[in-house]
Amino acid sequence: MRYRAGSVVRLAAPLKVLVQRFAFLLLVASAFALMMLGKGDALIVERFRAGVVDLVAPAMEVLSRPAATVAAVVDETEELIALRTENARLREEIGDLREWQNAARRIGAENASLRDLLSFVPSEPARFISARVIGDTGGAFVRSMILNAGRRHGVEKGQAVVTGDGFAGRIFEAGFHSARVLLVTDINSRIPVLVESSRARAILAGDNSDRPRLAFLAANAEVAVGDRIVTSGHGGMFPMGLPVGTVAQVRDGVVRVAPLVDLDRLEFVRVVDYGRVLPPDAAGPDAAAGAAPRR
């Protein structure tokens, strides 16, 4: 190597090794320090993450488009092949849905008249912020996604993320123009839910598998495969009644839930902002300024 020429360098070589070792140990120590800091939910860690995601979001947005196009082409081809059977299935479904529509109209009218009777004060209507999924992240250890909407568009930590099918997860970190969704399947996801038919309360706890389980379900609660699971609204994080999943398996007292949303193919989602009052420090100035809904 070219360093061998100078005698000073020859003397300095062991010193260089020593410095390198020290630097390595210092980096290892800082990695552990960061992990401890992150475990304590330090605000600075969250800001850093959101800042980095904000920085790379434009690149992710560009990169995610070709992948989305390819996926769309594949989907369309599959659909073309299945057109006939799909058509028959849809006709059947329309029949079912007509019945439901009639029922909903009847119940809606009944509900309206009962509200009149009670002088019921309706809760504020929810506001939706539409966003595109630009990052499917996590690898083996976490289940999260990155959206191309952030505080600028009114997205705040804790809001629910839904699709037409139901509840997908909640906002975990909100950057300026990007946000991270913690999916219901993530090992750190805990969502207060109800079994729709029996009104039994539980916590839907993710464990990184495709099917989160129902924790803290009362021992005498009646749960059967196929029961719908909806958000309970407890804790004030989400509105009540957002459909989350259906019970897929009841075995040895462990109830597993299949999410209604196809989490593998999310492309567009809606972030539900139902007007939760935030503490003044949580809602920054930009959150108040850019509250216009995104369509």
Binding site: G138, A140, D264
Partner: protein, 176 residues
């Protein structure tokens, strides 16, 4: 340090290529693929980049860069901050300490060594996550993710080698 300002700027930009490629690998690794189950077994492309540059240009890719790439990976992936930083730092240290072993070795040897490092990184990462979350995540995604990473290693190494050759003007080391 002779040469005009432009020359020096040019050299600096070229020397930043290893870091840039590693960061691009992080972002590409987080691309949504809309494939069932892909998200869980997404390959660890940053590990491929760190191992490549640790073997062939550790002077342009010191430990602190591996650490920084890991931090960005943690921030983008949503893993506990510091976890991938530590994993990549250790992978880098292992490769650099065995660098002489790789001199003049065929690609098959490099691939074998990479698969060993990838398995070690997956086990280490899994253990760190288990310790931090105080829970046992299923090891299956980590296993399949590692298999996919090892399978994609030749392709990405080829891309890195071509870029390495084109930008830093050295013969690709891995074509043998």
């Amino acid at each position: 340090m002779e040469g005009g300002l432009l020359q020096r700027l040019d050299a600096a930009a070229r020397n930043l290529v290893p870091l840039s490629l590693a960061l691009i690998a992080v972002i590409v690794g987080a691309m949504p693929m809309y494939m069932p189950g892909y998200g869980a077994i997404a390959p660890n492309l940053a590990l491929i980049a760190v191992v490549y540059w640790a073997i062939y240009r550790p002077d342009l890719f010191p430990a602190v860069i591996a650490f920084a790439v890991g931090l960005v990976q943690d921030a983008v992936m949503g893993t506990p901050l510091g976890m991938n930083a530590l994993v990549l730092l250790c992978a880098h240290a292992v490769i650099v300490s065995q660098r002489r072993f790789f001199q003049g070795k065929s690609f098959a040897v490099v691939w074998w060594a990479f698969s060993m490092v990838a398995i070690g990184a997956a086990i280490f990462g899994w253990a760190l996550v288990a310790a931090i979350f105080a829970a046992l995540p299923s090891p299956a995604p980590a296993l399949f993710g590692t298999l996919l990473t090892v399978a994609l290693h030749p392709f990405f190494t080829w891309i890195f080698a071509r870029t390495h050759h084109a930008v830093l003007g050295e013969p690709p080391n891995v074509s043998r």
